[in-house]
């Protein structure tokens, strides 16, 4: 008796609850979406590596930039060492050292320096130094007149034929470079053969000094800059009413060879788009009733571009190609539903009474912070039109970023096309 009763009760409960129809599935789904998907914190290592890469780039760029200033400083100790050696060896060398020292004082004006050997070496060095006040540091030696009457061949033999001297002046006077040449001569002042040698020496000096100035300019390997961008985002699916987005950051161009640079940097970019999925747009809720959806994506990314720039004109216009990696600072996605048939029947609503109603799911909203990191996010192509501005450059750079990863791995695999405005320090000619 009891067993039969229990069996009937069990069967009834099973029958009722196995076929239970919940009417609040939409509300339940909305609640579930508050918890799902959970924030993905499983990839801190990727963020760590991204930070390390960005930090190394900044440090390397700064180091290169600082080392660009070393050529001037590198020459000075060399001269000091040479003059010191001569001072120690023979008093005749003293005729050069004071000249260099006086140049640092005279600096802004043309100067004529005369020096004579205290040990019987009669020499006269007349030199004009033009102070250089610009970054180009072009050296102009207006005249070098010299006559050395060497009465002591032993001492004279120890004096170098030519000593280039570069003097870096005080901050107020900026940079001054000078060349002092001592040419030994066995004859007294006014000797015709000495004059010929002087002329040859002048040419040799000019030949040597001019390349040195050029070498200094070309020795700059890294050019830092800043940039701002304005662009549209595009998507594989149909895009509508897209706003203009903006971004900006810092850049570093590393000269690899003449006309070829490796360009990198770090930038923050805003990306947003409204797009309609091309697949599975229409999902039937119930038979013969349909709704569709569109997505709105708003993203803030930290991007690390790496590209090669090849000059195509003498002015420095270039073509560039490379790729960008991106760390997503914020991601906001909203899926909004809309009716296709305008009027949709509720499942349990009697149609006979003419009662109709809309049924649309609530918006799906997904928000993430520091959740996504994509290496090689896009293929970057650009063309730079360069305008020198003093010693710097302004570059107008149309660009296209075409996304590599599309599909499930990157739900909003967007590209962008627009214009960069770059300002590069110290790269003008």
């Amino acid at each position: 008796m009891s067993e039969e009763f229990d069996k009937k009760l069990r069967d009834r409960i099973t029958n009722v609850f196995d076929n239970y129809e919940g009417s609040s599935a939409d509300a339940g789904w909305a609640l579930l979406r508050e918890k799902y998907p959970e924030k993905d914190n499983k990839r801190p290592w990727a963020w760590w590596w991204f930070g390390v890469a960005a930090g190394l780039l900044l440090i390397a760029g700064t180091a290169f930039w600082l080392t660009d200033k070393t050529p001037n400083a590198a020459v000075k100790p060399l001269v000091s060492a040479q003059t010191k050696k001569q001072t120690d060896d023979n008093a005749a060398a003293n005729t050069i050292t004071p000249v260099a020292q006086q140049q640092t004082i005279v600096s802004n004006q043309k100067s004529t320096i005369q020096a004579a050997s205290a040990v019987g070496v009669s020499g006269r060095v007349t030199k004009e130094v033009k102070n250089q006040t610009s970054h180009s540091e072009e050296i102009t030696q207006q005249s070098i007149t010299k006559a050395v009457a060497n009465r002591n061949p032993e001492i004279a033999s120890q004096v170098p034929q030519s000593i280039p001297v570069a003097i870096q002046d005080s901050r107020n006077l900026k940079k001054t470079m000078a060349v002092v040449t001592v040419v030994k001569s066995n004859n007294s002042t006014g000797d015709s053969s000495a004059t010929k040698k002087d002329t040859a020496a002048k040419k040799a000096i000019l030949a040597k000094t001019t390349p040195k100035a050029k070498v200094k300019y070309e020795g700059k390997k890294v050019f830092l800059g800043v940039f701002a961008s304005a662009y549209y985002n595009f998507h594989d699916d149909f895009v509508q009413n897209n706003p203009i987005n903006v971004g900006g950051g810092v850049s570093a161009d590393i000269r690899l060879s003449d006309g070829v640079k490796l360009s990198t940097g770090l930038g923050v970019f805003q990306n947003s788009a409204n797009y309609y999925p091309s697949t599975a747009v229409y999902q039937p809720i119930y038979y013969s009733n349909y709704y569709g959806s569109y997505f709105t994506a708003k993203l803030l990314t930290l991007e690390l571009p790496v590209s090669l720039k090849v000059n195509i004109t003498k002015r420095g216009d270039y073509l560039a190609g490379g790729f960008s990696s991106a760390a997503y600072i914020t991601e906001n996605y909203r899926q909004t539903y809309y009716p296709i048939n305008i009027i949709v029947y509720l499942p349990n609503t009697p149609n006979s009474g003419g009662y109709l109603n809309y049924y649309l799911p609530p918006d799906n909203i997904t928000q993430k912070h520091f959740n996504t990191l994509i290496w090689g996010k896009s293929l970057d192509l650009a063309a730079g039109i360069v305008y020198p501005l003093g010693n710097n450059q302004i570059v107008f750079e149309p660009f296209l970023k075409y996304p590599f990863n599309r599909g499930n791995e990157n739900p909003f695999a967007y590209g962008s096309a627009g214009l960069n405005l770059r300002f590069t320090f110290g790269s003008g000619k």
């Binding site: 009760l9 009834r12 009722v16 196995d18 239970y20 599935a25 799902y36 999902q283 959806s293």
Partner: protein, 183 residues
């Protein structure tokens, strides 16, 4: 919710393995009623049941990549919902293992026969059971676990499980007969 034409349960589950939200939503809504029916039997109220169901679906979404789409989905989901309900009870320490059953209150005028019991009537009956008896009754009678399994799941002995089941069934019989007499 019925599945759209051309989409089978197996096909839907395969799509869900990719983690696509729109297919997960479809799966959720398709099996929501079934899961809610289980959750309600193990919970004291509807809100608790919904929480159990959603937690169970989140677990299911996380594990669905390992699920064999050729096998029936319902038994797998049922196990997840039941385990989630038990975990929730354990966390909230709502076990009232020693509380005896009071007389069932009004079940409903139409509940004079077992065949006429609806979901609300059954839940009213179950609400009057102590939590331990309710869980053992559901696990054994409805969901098909044996006493050893129930003992392991609830952290009690198998003999205690038998006692709880006997008491639960007796109280339910008593409550239903009481209602029949009143009619």
């Amino acid at each position: 919710m019925q599945l759209p034409p051309g989409i089978t349960e197996q096909g839907l589950i395969r799509q869900c393995k990719n983690g696509d939200l729109k297919y997960l939503e479809m799966l959720y809504k398709h099996f929501y009623g079934y899961a809610m029916g289980i959750g309600l039997r193990y919970s004291n109220n509807r809100d608790d049941a919904l929480e159990v169901v959603n937690d169970a679906f989140i677990k299911a979404f996380g594990e669905i990549k390992t699920f064999d789409a050729e096998k029936p989905f319902k038994p797998w989901l049922r196990r997840i919902v039941v385990n989630t309900a038990i975990d929730k009870q354990r966390k909230e320490k709502k076990h009232a293992w020693d509380v005896d059953l009071a007389h069932a209150e009004d079940i409903g005028k139409q509940a004079s026969a077992i065949e006429q019991l609806n979901a609300a009537d059954i839940l009213k009956l179950m609400d009057r059971l102590p939590q331990a008896q309710r869980m053992v009754f559901n696990l054994y009678e409805i969901d098909g676990y044996n006493h050893d399994e129930i003992a392991a799941m609830l952290g009690i002995t198998a003999s205690s499980s038998r006692v709880y089941l006997g008491r639960a069934k007796e109280k339910l019989r008593e409550a239903i007969r009481h209602e029949e007499k009143q009619q």
